[in-house]
């Protein structure tokens, strides 16, 4: 992973000192609420329903054991002993005291971490495939490009006061595991006819009130032009994006209003002026950054292991976990392990200080000292030897992180909802619990196969409900929580927005409604057909009829 040099370290240290002074001035009444709002947001600090919330950056989801232990320490010392992983692969602490935040940031800086640009109207944490660099289907590792974007976008002086937040995702494999098509910019490493690798560039995707799938702005961009092209897009957006209405301020609205062709013309005109400038990446710099993401010293003997097969044959629970929660690795004899943060009885993405330390220890012992966070709110140990999988499973199982539900209905993406978030209209955690209770039969879940269930407590869509195979949106109706259900969405390479099933259902009826939807699926599916494909083939109507016919 990328290791800070003196300069990187100086930035985070200076930033801590700067924020310490800003906090001091605010508490002394020298800084207005409005100005402090802007500077605290650019340091990841929100004021929430109960307390401030601090969002710490995990650049493209990559984190070391040492960093995880620091997060555990922060959770224990400054919070209530847990953190929450987000769809931006960051971690949130829900209970810090405002006056402690400068100290927390100083502790983070000790382990090369920070909360810079995790909120506010600026360029946010760039995200990528959680299996980057290790998945066999990859064209090229996207992480060096994420790091190049991270450095370019960090404290970028021109783009700190954009019309609205700005999110970039990069993928290196045909399988999109980063929801790249619902990002402000989606970058796909692709190969052109000449055999060169560059970027396909999408722009104007996003969720929130107005969900939009990203549009193709450039089918092939040379690698060296990455930053000049991004800068051109950002400049056009910064100048032309709407600022009169924050719900219409994302780049997707601008691209829709101008039309992709006119928007592209503006970007390319701006790009012509800057593409040959110092923004052009040098081969030496690309090579330098790639140097941080070289393959580990894998054990050449790993594939000769026979113990894994023995354990799979003899331990049914392990076999089930292996099939669900591990992913193939490009090096024979290794697997990537998904650490499930979707237990039966705790909020999706939540992790205790103790669990963080367990993952840190496992990473150190079995996975080259690194872990990853995923946009589905799980963690990954990317490089585990076959021979070690059983031990890893046992440790995860002991600490409630081995629920074998990855990719199934209960591997839900869920925002914190009304229980924590000041923006939310409705609770989500109680509904997730209701669903967990109703769908606790693993065989049934496996029979249903791959289903992405995403839930948001308000229209801002932090839980990505529009792109869930099943999406649940909490809405407030005269003081009561109701839930609008969509089906047929996808955040993968076949990205699509779900279609509304019908009128919203009452809180108590959500799980029953899902049961009816899934009954319909089981009845109508062809062999091996995923839920989302059945919905696409037969449309919403059969589902709707089954759900609403028997209501009352």
């Amino acid at each position: 992973m990328y290791i800070y040099n003196e300069v990187d370290q100086k930035i985070v240290d200076e930033r801590v000192a700067q924020f310490r002074d800003q906090t001091r001035r605010y508490l002394a009444g020298e800084l207005s609420d409005d100005e402090f709002l802007a500077v605290r947001l650019m340091n990841g600090l929100y004021i929430q329903r109960h307390a401030p919330m601090l969002r710490v950056a995990i650049p493209y989801g990559l984190i070391s054991s040492r960093q995880l232990r620091k997060l555990a320490h922060i959770a224990r010392t400054y919070d209530k002993g847990y953190g929450h992983f987000t769809t931006r692969t960051n971690i949130q602490f829900n209970w810090p005291k405002l006056e402690d935040v400068p100290d927390i940031l100083a502790e983070l800086a000790e382990v090369q971490m920070h909360a810079i640009q995790t909120s506010g109207n600026c360029i946010r944490n760039t995200t990528t495939d959680q299996f980057a660099g290790v998945t066999p289907d990859e064209l090229e590792d996207p992480r060096p490009w994420c790091e190049i974007i991270r450095q370019w976008s960090t404290l970028h002086p021109e783009f700190a006061y954009l019309p609205r937040k700005f999110k970039i995702a990069v993928t290196g494999s045909p399988r999109d595991r980063a929801a790249s098509q619902v990002h402000d910019i989606g970058l796909h490493l692709v190969q052109n006819d000449a055999g060169e690798i560059g970027f396909e560039v999408l722009v104007g995707g996003g969720l929130g009130r107005t969900p939009v799938i990203g549009k193709l702005i450039r089918p092939f961009l040379q690698k060296k032009d990455l930053l000049s092209y991004l800068e051109a897009i950002l400049r056009v957006y910064n100048l032309k994006g709407r600022r009169d209405n924050k719900y219409k301020a994302r780049i997707k609205i601008l691209v829709e209003a101008m039309g992709i062709d006119a928007f592209r013309d503006e970007v390319e005109a701006e790009w012509e002026k800057i593409r040959g400038s110092e923004l052009e990446l040098t081969d030496a710099e690309i090579a330098r950054v790639k140097g941080f993401f070289q393959p580990f010293a894998y054990d050449a003997d790993a594939a000769n292991d026979t113990t894994l097969q023995q354990k799979l044959d003899s331990d049914e629970a392990f076999r089930v976990w292996y099939e669900r929660n591990t992913h193939e690795h490009k090096v024979p004899g290794y697997r990537s392990v998904v650490v499930s943060l979707k237990p039966q009885l705790a909020p999706a993405g939540d992790i205790t200080d103790r669990q963080m330390e367990v993952v840190a220890d496992l990473a150190e012992q079995y996975s080259f000292g690194e872990a990853r966070s995923t946009h589905e709110q799980n963690l990954v140990l990317a490089d585990v030897k076959n021979a070690d999988l059983y031990a890893v499973w046992q440790a995860l199982d002991e600490h409630n992180m081995a629920r074998p539900n990855i990719g199934t209905l209960t591997d839900m993406i869920v925002c914190p909802g009304f229980d924590f978030c000041a923006l939310a209209n409705a609770k989500t955690l109680n509904i997730a619990e209701q669903i967990n209770r109703a769908f606790d039969d693993l065989d049934y879940l496996y029979d249903l196969g791959e289903i992405r269930l995403n839930m948001s407590g308000c229209i801002n869509a932090c839980g990505h409900h529009h792109v869930g195979g099943i999406g649940i949106l909490g809405v407030d109706k005269k003081g009561e929580d109701w839930y609008q259900i969509t089906i047929g969405g996808s955040d993968r390479e076949d990205a699509a927005l779900g279609k509304v099933l019908g009128k919203a259902v009452a809180a108590d009826d959500v799980a029953d409604t899902l049961k009816k939807i899934l009954e319909t699926y089981v009845e109508l599916r062809t062999e091996e057909e995923r839920f989302v494909d059945t919905v696409r083939r037969v449309g919403v109507t059969p589902f709707k009829e089954n759900v609403y016919a028997t209501a009352h």
Partner: protein
């Protein structure tokens, strides 16, 4: 009105904003005139015997200005509210187009933006009396490291040494 130029407080400033309802230009005065009024005041501007600086906002089309940059010793960029970041890009476009005169940020400019504003090409900052404080001078150096090139130095960090 407190004014910083090149990180120094300046008291003798000859520039005056043109009154919003003025139709005549005060003789001999160096004036800051909204770019949006240039057409309407074209004749008076032509005859004016003081200097003129356009004041640009995010609503303006910069194209005509870019063709005549050498005419102006000063260009003001207005920040209607401090969260309106269009001025940052306007400054970069003006500097990229070769403008070398004074670039002055006016309106709602916040202390904690000064470092970024300077990096984008501003060298002068006008504040209202109520907001300005001496510690504003400390704001420029709070972050000394620059990952990316900008108007101050086009080189990214890996080319800086």
């Amino acid at each position: 009105m407190p004014l910083l130029i090149d990180r120094q407080p300046v008291t003798d400033d000859s520039w005056q904003p043109l009154d919003a309802d003025a139709t005549q230009l005060p003789a001999g005065q160096d004036l800051i005139v909204p770019l949006a009024r240039f057409d309407e005041l074209a004749d008076a501007l032509e005859r004016h015997d003081g200097a003129v600086a356009p004041m640009v906002t995010g609503e303006d089309d910069l194209t005509p200005l870019l063709d005549s940059l050498e005419r102006f010793a000063m260009i003001a960029v207005e920040f209607p509210v401090f969260r309106d970041g269009r001025g940052f890009s306007i400054a970069r476009i003006l500097r990229q187009a070769g403008y070398t005169g004074q670039l002055r940020a006016v309106g709602n400019v916040a202390r904690d933006q000064l470092g970024y504003l300077e990096r984008c090409g501003f060298d002068a900052f006008a504040f209202s009396d109520e907001v300005y404080a001496e510690h504003f001078l400390n704001a420029f150096d709070e972050i000394s490291v620059r990952y990316q090139g900008c108007a101050d130095d086009p080189r990214p960090i890996y080319l800086q040494n």
